[in-house]
Each structure stands twice: as structure tokens, then as C-alpha cells.
């Protein structure tokens, strides 16, 4: 375990060095979005990659956080931190409430149920226009905590970078803990895990609640960062993008999620120059990735270069 933290230091190094290469705030913005998506994808990877439970509606929880912050700070004058916490607790409570019935389902039925959940959240945000501003969205005040106001891309960049580093560190510790081993066990074989004393239903519920909590917090922070929320934050397509980040990077690979998130965030920006063809190009690249690297980038590459199984 000597090199256990090499990856973490490498990531920290990249995050520190990156500002030297970022010429203007547009690139800062992309880097920030990468970091945001990476943290959400990490949480989702715990659920999909490690516990083996697919969720096609995760953007819903992100949306709950974003709108909790937007609505509670704007309409009710709440403090940003309490709004963030309320959103995260709300998302966690919803996840906890639905965990039992949802995780009785398997495979494509589970995919259907989580997809439905995400779509319902997005539709509620779109239709309750009195509070949410409807499809046009609503503005969010900047975040100020303890007299410190967050503004400017650079400040946010350091904030989200620290956030990402902490999340990576926390995820890796979680995975190596008895809890993480239990998750991987139930991914391998639920019955065997149960025989070994893992309370399968409980563990699935906990990790679902945990990743919903994660996603909601990131949603709140994103709302403050962007200064504006639209129902698109909870969109079906964002859910799919998140799952794609996890899969492209590599299921059950912490750094895979970070890499996948970075790639899939940068890709649409890079393709924007294609004038109309970006959707076609994006779809083609998705298909090619899945066909040629079905295991994801990090697992495939590490196998090729390290010769490890």
C-alpha cells in the first residue's frame, strides 16, 4: 500500500498546476464544471460501479439541491448554508423513502424506476412555475458564508478543486473500509454477501442515500456558482451524461470517474466548433467508446500499461 496515495497527489498536482495553463475565465469555467461533474460522478460510481445498482435518474437529486438553494434563499431568505443542508437532507430523505421499494427491483426494472423518478423530479421543477420560475428557471444569489463572498472563477476554482480532492480521498477511504468491502461483496453476488452477514437491503439503501446527498450538495453549490438554475439541471439527459462519465471512466474506479467527468465535460465544448454536427459527433464518440473500451478508460489503460489483471 506504499503507492496508495500516488494518484491523489497526482490529482492535487494537476489541480494546482492547471491555473498556469488556463488562459481566461472561459477555461476556468470548464475546469470548474469538470470538478463539479467529477464529484457527482464519484457519488454515482459508488452506487453503480461499486454496489452494482444502476440509477438513470441521478440528476434529479442534483436538481433538488439546486432548486432547494434557489427557492429557499430567494423566496424565503434562508442562509445559503441552511438552504444547502435542507436540500441535501430532503434529497437524502427522498432516497431513503424510496430505497426499499426501488432496490427490490433488478436490472432493467431498476433502470426504469430510477429513470422515472428523475423525470418526475424534472417535470415538477418545470411545472411548479410559481416557485421555480418554470422552464425559464430562476436567478440565485451569490454565496456568502461568514462574511466571505464567493465570486470570480478563480475563487470558485480553488473551492471546487478542494472539494474534489476531499471527495476522492473520502471515496477511497470509504471503499477500503468494511462498508466498502460489503458493497463490493453485494455487487459480486447478493446471496453470497447475505450469507456472509451483509444486510444487502440496508447497504444498498445507505449508498443510495449517500450518493443522493452528495449530488444534492453539488447541485446547491452549482446553483450558487452559476447564479441561475433551469429545470435542465435535473434533466434525463444530464442523468445519462453522469452515468456515461462513470462508465467511460471505468466502473468501480475512483480516478476513472474523475477522468470520465473531465472528458465528457470538455467534449461538448470541443465539439461546439462543429456547427450543428456536435450531437452527431457526441453520439458517435459515445458508441465508439463503449464498443472499443467497454470496461472504461482507467481499467483498460491500467491493464494495458501495468500488465495487471
Amino acid at each position: 500500500m506504499k503507492h496508495r496515495n500516488t494518484g491523489l497527489f497526482l490529482l492535487a498536482g494537476i489541480l494546482v498546476a492547471l491555473p498556469l495553463l488556463l488562459p481566461n475565465s472561459y477555461y476556468y469555467d470548464i475546469a470548474i464544471r469538470m470538478a463539479i461533474n467529477a464529484v457527482v460522478a464519484l457519488g454515482l460510481n459508488l452506487l453503480i460501479g461499486f454496489a452494482g445498482q444502476v440509477s438513470l435518474g441521478h440528476a434529479g437529486f442534483f436538481g433538488i439541491g439546486a432548486y432547494a438553494t434557489a427557492i429557499l434563499t430567494t423566496h424565503f431568505g434562508w442562509h445559503p448554508l441552511s438552504a444547502l443542508l435542507a436540500g441535501a437532507l430532503g434529497a437524502a430523505a427522498l432516497a431513503a423513502l424510496l430505497a426499499r421499494p426501488i432496490f427490490r427491483l433488478r436490472g432493467h426494472y431498476l433502470a426504469m424506476a430510477t429513470l422515472g423518478l428523475g423525470i418526475l423530479i424534472a417535470m415538477a421543477l418545470k411545472n411548479e412555475a410559481a416557485y421555480t420560475g418554470g422552464p425559464d428557471g430562476m436567478a440565485v444569489a451569490p454565496m456568502s458564508v461568514f462574511g466571505l463572498q464567493m465570486d470570480g472563477e478563480q475563487q470558485w476554482y480553488w473551492f471546487f478543486s478542494a472539494n474534489l480532492l476531499f471527495s476522492v480521498w473520502a471515496c477511497r477511504n470509504l471503499i477500503d473500509s468494511p462498508f466498502g468491502r460489503a458493497l463490493r461483496a453485494l455487487h459480486g453476488c447478493e446471496v453470497a454477501a447475505q450469507v456472509a452477514g451483509v444486510n444487502v437491503a440496508r447497504y444498498k439503501a445507505i449508498i443510495f442515500v449517500f450518493s443522493a446527498f452528495f449530488a444534492s450538495i453539488m447541485g446547491s453549490l452549482t446553483a450558487h456558482y452559476v447564479g441561475f438554475v433551469t429545470p435542465n439541471v435535473a434533466d434525463f439527459f444530464y442523468s445519462i451524461e453522469l452515468v456515461t462519465m462513470v462508465v467511460v471512466g471505468g466502473m468501480a474506479s475512483v480516478f476513472g470517474s474523475v477522468l470520465g467527468a473531465a472528458l465528457l465535460t470538455a467534449l461538448p465544448q470541443a465539439l461546439a466548433t462543429l456547427e450543428g454536427w456536435e450531437t452527431v459527433a457526441f453520439g458517435t464518440i459515445l458508441v465508439l467508446f463503449m464498443v472499443f473500451l467497454p470496461e472504461g478508460l482507467v481499467p483498460s489503460l491500467s491493464r494495458r500499461f501495468a500488465g495487471r489483471p
Binding site: 427491483l105 432493467h108 457526441f282 458508441v287 463503449m290
Partner: protein, 291 residues
């Protein structure tokens, strides 16, 4: 039975029939290779958009419609050959992403080629509403119901009476065993994709005179078809038809009696509700898993 109820019933059963066709498409591909084809909605879109394109190009409707069924079927075969087949052995989540990638490609190409606007298609026969019991029924609804019913019966006969149909069934029960008795399973896969795309395209053509079409209608229609397939229990043909009609009816009733703002939400509420009580849908096999 009030006239209002009858009116909602008519509109529900019409839309439901197209959901049923779409759900049958999901079921066909699911049975053939265990893939949920999220590009199914794009076949529906292709059917409608291509018909509009060919009709505007001056072709008579029947020929335009036939071309608009054949073209998506070819797209379905290409999808199978170039995206699904090379990825065999990939996990179910990877396969979902592949079909979503394919749907983006199809949608993107149509958006570039035919633009973002909404398109109209004239009704197949007259536009004169037929009055029944105080409610009105559009002749186009009769077209939808009639063609959908014919398709379902034709599909049933295909599976019961033809060698090709039985080959598909055999492959869906056990692909390895089917291969051992000499069924070209690769060919069966392609046929399933072609059939599924054709079913979707027919649904799209039938629906277009009622609801308009544009490059992005496939997203919601496809998802509702998926809901219908799951409501009935994935893999069950009867379930797909029943699921489609049920989703259409519940949607129309709640749009009429409760709120039309949440019309699109109804299928998803329905599916969550059903899955919470019947984890394998209405007609899904009750399987006990062996360890």
C-alpha cells in the same frame, strides 16, 4: 358513461395503440439480445419525419409511408451491425449508453437535414369527426387503431406460423441452443432490429397527423414506449400491448380529469406505482433466481 369519459377514452386508446407498437419494438429487441434499445423513440420520429419529407417531395402517401418504414428498418439493421454486435459481452449499462449514443446520432442527422421545425402531415382520409355517444372520433384514430391491430395480428401470425418467427422465438428462449440446431442467431438479431424499427416507424407515421412531428419527438415517445413495455413486463408481447393501451388510457384520463400540465408525468408515476407492487410488471415471468 358520460360523453366526456368516452372522449378521453378515444384519445387514450389512440395514443395507447402507438405506445403499444413502440413497446412491442422494445420487447422484440429485449427478447432477442437483452438490450433495452433507447433509440426506439428515434424510429418513431424517423417514421413520421420521413413520411412528411417524402410527401412534400411529391410522392403519394402510401409510397411515402412504405419508404418511411423501410428506411428506419435499414437504420435498425445498421445499428445492430455496427454498434450492438461489436459490443457483445458489454454490460447492460454500456449497452444502454450505446443505444443512447445511436439515438443522438439519428436525431442529430435529422436535425441537420430536415431542420428543427415542427411538421404537419394531412390525415390519411377525411378530417370529418365521427360523432359517437356525444363524443367525437377522428377518422385518423380509426386508422391508428386499425393499422395497430393489424400489425399486432400480423406479428402474432409471424411468430406462430413462419419459420423466421419461430427462429426468433427460439433464439430468445436460448440463444446457444438455437445456434446448435442451426438457427443463424446473428441474422435473427438483425431481423429483430429491423422489425422493431419498422414497428416504431409505423407508430410514428400513424401518430403524426394527430400530434405533429419534429426531430425531437422521439425522446418522450420512446421513453413512454419503454414504460409501456415495463408495465406489461419486459419480454411479454401481450404485456407490451396491454401496457401500451393502459399507459395511453391513464395518461388521457388524468390529463382530462386532473391536470394536463402533468400529462407527461403520468406514465412515470404509473410505472413506479406498478413496480413497487409488482417488481416484474403485470405479465412478467415470476422468476426465482438460482444461486
Amino acid at each position: 358513461m358520460s360523453a366526456q369519459f368516452l372522449q378521453f377514452f378515444f384519445s387514450g386508446i389512440t395514443v395507447g395503440a402507438t405506445y403499444a407498437l413502440s413497446a412491442l419494438g422494445f420487447t422484440l429487441i429485449y427478447n432477442a439480445c437483452n438490450v433495452i434499445n433507447f433509440a426506439q423513440g428515434e424510429f418513431i420520429m424517423l417514421g413520421g419525419m420521413l413520411t412528411v419529407f417524402f410527401v412534400h417531395g411529391g410522392l403519394p402517401l402510401p409510397i411515402a409511408a412504405i419508404l418511411a418504414v423501410i428506411a428506419p428498418a435499414v437504420v435498425g439493421i445498421l445499428l445492430e451491425k455496427f454498434a450492438i454486435e461489436p459490443a457483445q459481452g458489454a454490460g447492460s449499462v454500456s449497452l444502454i449508453i450505446i443505444t443512447i449514443g445511436a439515438s443522438l446520432v439519428i436525431r442529430g442527422v435529422i436535425q441537420i437535414w430536415l431542420g428543427k421545425g415542427a411538421h404537419i402531415l394531412a390525415a390519411f382520409s377525411s378530417n370529418e369527426p365521427i360523432a359517437i355517444g356525444g363524443a367525437t372520433l377522428l377518422p385518423q384514430s380509426l386508422w391508428v387503431l386499425g393499422v395497430a391491430a393489424a400489425m399486432v395480428i400480423a406479428l402474432w401470425l409471424f411468430f406462430r406460423r413462419t419459420v423466421a418467427g419461430k427462429a426468433i422465438l427460439a433464439t430468445s428462449y436460448n440463444a446457444l441452443a438455437a445456434q446448435l440446431v442451426g438457427i443463424p442467431t446473428q441474422w435473427v438479431l438483425r431481423l429483430s432490429f429491423a422489425l422493431s424499427a419498422a414497428m416504431g416507424a409505423v407508430a410514428g407515421i400513424l401518430l403524426t397527423p394527430i400530434t405533429l412531428t419534429s426531430y425531437d419527438v422521439g425522446i418522450m415517445l420512446g421513453l413512454k414506449g419503454f414504460v409501456a413495455a415495463v408495465v406489461g413486463g419486459l419480454g411479454s408481447g401481450l404485456g407490451a400491448v396491454a401496457g401500451g393501451l393502459l399507459v395511453g388510457l391513464v395518461e388521457a384520463m388524468s390529463a382530462g380529469y386532473i391536470s394536463s400540465a402533468y400529462k407527461d408525468a403520468v406514465p412515470f408515476v404509473l410505472i413506479l406505482f406498478i413496480l413497487f407492487f409488482l417488481p416484474r410488471g403485470l405479465f412478467g415471468a415470476r422468476i426465482t433466481e438460482r444461486v
